[in-house]
């Protein structure tokens, strides 16, 4: 019997496993994929400050270091946001394995290619999982099951019911392209509700001639493939390249829930919608969420109480530490998706890059509200932000 079983070996699962193992608990992590980190569902960008949580990321995990982001208004004008500590574009299949190795070194066990199909329950407590490894079915028990599976999460549905509101999911498609020309000192974000309704297009460099070129939108009449092809076709410096990988996925852009635990069960990371709702970035949020989960679980195991009530400290901790801030960002996203392309162009003229950075962290939204107030038809949106 394990103390903890974690389902999903992405950043949330492995950061949770590492901390639990360091605290002396027995941890087993299962992942559905044959290779950790692959296929990626991710633009692979990460703020360098994430290292405050996981330590120095080895060079081999990093495809490209960047100074910051260029954010393009629909008319092509861009604002340059310089990150104080810089940022990375990762190689996820290397990074995720490194994260896994960190957990293993601390004493956790990890097994890839293992599909966990359901939770087992006894006396109102979740007590284990049912899974399959290379055709062999098995059952394994633990005091607590952590669901860190990413957005598609039957386990979360089984334990906590339906989470997602369908309108809070953006659908994304990304080509990893080689043989392109791109300024590799920056990640490039292209806004425009005509080009990418509710979302944006991105180019994340992975070297001077290689990048993740992708786009996310609110699900609608046309699919992301339609918009991504248009985006690529309109840029000769990208269009001339080759597609060396295709990634797709859906990302929750809001809809964080108050309740993330049940008796013997906890959900964290993207499975709990712990994603930044304006840019869809989830690696750092997942790491923070996974580590918070580990803190609460360690406490509960020490007290030998894995009830919903004891685990609910995770709800409080996460909402206080991250949730309230991300809820602000969700509001920001709701406002931005209602802006026309000409509104966005006008905002690009009056806002400063540092302010945009603050907005994406859920702060200084009053500055944006003030800028919106300049246009009478946007006053209602400005009020909503305040």
């Amino acid at each position: 019997m394990n103390d903890v079983i974690i389902v999903g070996a992405g950043p949330a699962g492995t950061s949770c496993a590492k901390k639990l193992a360091e605290n002396g608990f027995s941890v087993k992590v299962f992942d559905r994929r044959a290779e950790l980190g692959n296929p990626k569902r991710c633009g692979e960008g990460l703020d360098e400050r994430a290292q405050e949580f996981i330590g120095k990321i080895p060079e081999r995990c990093i495809a490209q270091k960047v100074k910051g982001a260029r954010i393009y208004a629909p008319n092509g004008k861009y604002l340059e946001v310089i990150l104080k500590y810089g940022g990375f574009v990762l190689e996820r299949k290397v990074f995720d394995k490194w994260m896994a190795e960190q957990a293993i070194k601390s004493g956790a066990g990890i097994q890839a290619n293992t599909l966990i199909s359901s939770l087992t329950k006894e006396n109102e407590y979740f007590t284990g999982v049912k899974g399959e490894f290379l055709g062999e079915k098995f059952e394994e028990k633990a005091k607590i099951i952590v669901c860190a599976t990413g957005a598609e999460s039957p386990l979360r549905k089984q334990a906590l019911g339906i989470f997602s509101k369908a309108n809070l999911i953006d659908t994304c498609l990304q080509y990893e392209m080689s043989g392109i020309d791109i300024d590799s000192d920056f990640i490039h974000l292209y806004l425009g509700n005509e080009m990418a309704p509710r979302g944006y297009a991105w180019i994340f460099p992975k070297g001077i001639d290689r990048a993740n070129v992708g786009l996310g939108i609110i699900p609608g009449e046309k699919n992301p493939k339609f918009y991504l092809e248009k985006f690529v076709d309109s840029r000769p410096e990208i269009k001339k390249g080759s597609i060396i990988e295709v990634n797709a996925g859906c990302v929750p852009v809001g809809g964080m829930e108050k309740e993330m635990v049940a008796n013997g069960f906890l959900v964290c990371g993207e499975a709990a919608h712990h994603v930044n709702p304006i840019h869809g970035g989830g690696i750092k949020e997942s790491i923070i969420s996974g580590q918070m989960a580990a803190d609460v679980i360690s406490e509960c195991l020490k007290k030998n109480d894995v009830s919903k009530k004891a685990l609910s400290k995770f709800n409080d901790l996460w909402w206080e530490g991250r949730g309230n801030r991300l809820k602000n960002v969700e509001k920001l996203r709701e406002v931005v998706e209602k802006l026309s392309d000409s509104d966005l162009n006008d905002l690009a003229d009056v806002l400063k890059p540092e302010e945009i950075m603050e907005f994406s962290r859920g702060s200084k939204l009053s500055v944006l509200a003030k800028a919106l107030m300049r246009k009478p038809k946007l006053i209602a949106l400005a009020r909503y932000l305040l």
């Binding site: 569902r41 598609e152 039957p154 369908a166 999911i169 659908t171 994304c172 493939k225 990634n247």
Partner: protein
């Protein structure tokens, strides 16, 4: 009333699985569909990044 998926188009990204309000879809090495749970709401068709799913009412 039918649900169908073009497996050659499908990238097995799981987007449809994450949005299904009825837990009628499951992700293995491909997307598995449980007819008994599905109510043909069509949200999976809407989110599919490559339009591999078709739902007809």
């Amino acid at each position: 009333m039918t649900w169908s998926i073009e497996t050659r188009k499908c990238l097995v990204c799981g987007g449809c699985v994450s949005v299904c309000p009825f837990a009628a879809l499951e992700l293995k090495d491909k997307v598995l569909f449980d007819e008994k749970l599905c109510n043909l709401c069509g949200i999976c068709e809407k989110v599919c990044p490559v339009s591999a799913i078709k739902v007809t009412k």
